[in-house]
């Protein structure tokens, strides 16, 4: 019979293996995209217009399109999400209203991305066509904004709750009003957490494909306005890979997207370090 100490060693070896395996999976995904994409990557790839049905040239319109939809999404979800968090932490702490808001926000977070796509299609592209320009960058951006809203609410709420109660009391003790306390104590203290949430949401918005796939057009042109049609990195990548148009450009696009995600991830880590310092201080 194997002794319990041998079993213990074997089990621990497996636990170590599992963690190593996960690191290896991550490295193989990153490494593979890097190796396959680096051949296409250059400054002109990022800044040129596509040529010959995306087989040559660059991916500038898609980069610009991604940037625009993300700006639209965050311009909507940022204020609304942070505002909701302020309301939930400072005005309406408990009670039925805040419970329903939390449940809706959690449910919204669980909605599959393709369902957001169907919703965006029927709301923005058909019902509100006259206001959004139908399948436009505005429609795509707003759909993504709806999708990242729960993330912003949750991270901002956590950030505001982490501001010590005592600091709020000190502020009131000095005669500050509720609004002054929120502006001078709660919001500044929550900034690293809110920023982390916003960057997380930018990462999600820039990487999503399914919610906006019905609202983009595969035009190799610069988007004219918010109400005009456009393309993003993700949707272009989908078409290139699915139709097998050019794997080289597809992997170049994938690498571009991945580098954006890596940079955003690095920024989040800086904010998180600050956040944990704040918590220790508090």
């Amino acid at each position: 019979m194997i002794s319990k100490h041998t079993t213990d060693k074997l089990a621990k070896a497996w636990l170590w293996m599992s963690a190593i395996l996960i690191i290896l999976i991550l490295l193989s995904v990153l490494g593979y995209i890097f190796v396959m994409g680096i051949g296409a990557m250059s400054v002109s790839f990022l800044l040129d217009m596509p040529k010959n049905n995306w087989r040559e040239g660059g991916i500038f319109p898609a980069i610009l399109g991604s940037l625009i939809v993300v700006v639209v999404a965050i311009s909507f979800a940022g204020p609304v999400g942070v505002g909701t968090a302020v309301y939930l932490t400072e005005f309406q702490k408990e009670g039925n209203v805040s419970r329903i808001i939390r449940i809706s926000s959690d449910a919204l977070n669980a909605v599959p991305s393709i369902v957001f796509g169907l919703f965006g299609l029927s709301l923005f592209v058909f019902y509100l066509k006259d206001y959004t320009g139908g399948p436009s960058l505005l429609s795509a951006g707003l759909t993504l904004g709806f999708m990242v809203l729960p993330t912003i609410i949750r991270t901002s709420e956590v950030a505001m709750r982490s501001v010590p109660y005592a600091e709020r009391m000190e502020s009131y003790g000095l005669g500050a009003s509720k609004l002054q306390t929120i502006r001078n104590i709660v919001l500044p203290g929550a900034v690293p957490g809110i920023a982390t949430g916003l960057i997380l949401s930018i990462g999600r918005a820039v990487g999503e494909t399914a919610p906006i796939i019905f609202m983009v057009a595969l035009n190799p042109t610069i988007p004219e306005s918010l109400f005009g049609s456009g393309n993003t990195l993700t949707t272009q990548l989908y078409y290139l890979a699915m139709e097998g148009i050019s794997l080289k450009v597809a992997f170049g696009t994938a690498l571009t997207l991945m580098l954006i995600i890596l940079i955003l991830n690095a920024i989040t880590r800086v904010f998180k370090k600050r956040l944990s310092r704040n918590l220790r201080r508090g």
């Binding site: 079993t7 213990d8 089990a11 621990k12 636990l15 170590w16 599992s18 963690a19 395996l21 996960i22 999976i25 991550l26 995904v29 593979y32 995209i33 204020p79 609304v80 505002g83 909701t84 309301y87 939930l88 309406q92 805040s98 809706s104 926000s105 959690d106 449910a107 669980a110 909605v111 599959p112 991305s113 393709i114 369902v115 957001f116 796509g117 169907l118 919703f119 029927s122 709301l123 709806f146 809203l149 729960p150 609410i153 609004l179 990462g203 990487g207 494909t209 399914a210 796939i213 019905f214 890979a241 699915m242 597809a250 994938a254 997207l257 991945m258 995600i261 890596l262 955003l264 991830n265």
Partner: protein, 290 residues
């Protein structure tokens, strides 16, 4: 007396902001039902759920093959991800030295942040070929390939929720076990894992929801054949991938369009049920040690 109280003004504005998420959720339900339900004027609900012929041109909308494929892909991915994910969660919570945690935690966060389309493109070449060679198939675009890529994508959810659950097991439990002469491993699988059980199951359930709802990574590797899948190494088409592929050709408000919205209702409802179940379990498992 002040005519305008700025605090009340701000409170009202913030309340409007807060109601936005309720409004969006309600609108989503409304629009998805509005898009989907007209189907049942033409096709019976049982024909939709259990029929296995999906031929839009002939007015046949049996979605069972998509439902079966989605369930197979989901269970496959959970089967692959659960052993690995829970082991890694135990590793992080119980035995990892600080330096190892500092490497593995960020790696898992990054894994969670990689867009699904990137996983799709990776799997399209790497996993598909792996499956093709391992099973000597004509094409590796199969249910199994989709399960494998989904397994990678749901690992972070399983790991982070299981780790939370394991770490919330009180020290007393562990100390009691050690005092009886148990080894680390005996303590882990006889005491800690059972105590953290509901939390771990909550993570797995949430991961299932994520897998059912995933579209982009699946559509690139599953082969997209509208046929009832016969095995894990046969191609298929899931609910989400069918919507993605067919929406372009469906005429607005046609029966086909309605049917595609109905395909969306199925994962929507499943995912909502699973996420409610999961958060109930998490609350329950937290209450156990409180």
């Amino acid at each position: 007396m002040k005519l305008f109280d700025p605090e009340k003004g701000v409170a009202t504005v913030l309340m409007v902001f807060s109601i936005t998420s309720i409004l969006i959720l309600s609108l989503i339900m409304l629009f998805i039902l509005d898009g989907g339900l007209p189907l049942f004027n033409k096709v019976g609900i049982t024909d939709f759920l259990f029929g296995d012929k999906w031929i839009p041109a002939k007015g046949l909308f049996g979605a069972s093959q998509f439902i079966i494929a989605a369930l197979l892909v989901t269970f496959g991915s959970v089967l692959i991800a659960v052993p690995l994910g829970i082991s890694c969660a135990i590793f992080l919570a119980e035995i990892a030295p600080l330096w190892a945690k500092r490497i593995v935690r960020p790696a898992i966060e990054l894994l969670a942040g990689i867009p699904s389309i990137i996983y799709g493109v990776f799997a399209l070449v790497v996993i598909v070929n792996l499956v093709k060679i391992s099973f000597s198939l004509a094409s590796g675009e199969t249910i199994l390939a989709a399960s494998m890529v989904l397994a990678i994508m749901i690992l972070p959810i399983i790991i982070s929720i299981s780790q939370d659950a394991i770490e919330s097991v009180p020290r007393l439990y562990k100390e009691g076990s050690y005092a009886l002469g148990a080894t680390d491993w005996q303590t882990i699988y006889r005491v800690i894992v059972p105590a953290a059980g509901p939390g771990i199951i909550a993570g797995v359930i949430l991961a299932m929801g994520r897998a059912i709802g995933e579209t982009m990574a699946v559509v690139l590797v599953i082969g997209n054949v509208e046929r009832m899948p016969t095995s894990l190494v046969s191609p298929g088409e899931t609910l989400t991938s069918a919507i993605l592929l067919e929406m372009g050709e469906a005429v607005v408000q046609s029966v086909h369009y309605n049917a595609l919205f109905c395909l969306g209702i199925v994962p929507f409802v499943l995912v909502l049920v699973l996420s409610v179940l999961s958060s109930k379990l998490i609350t329950k498992s937290k209450a156990r040690f409180a």
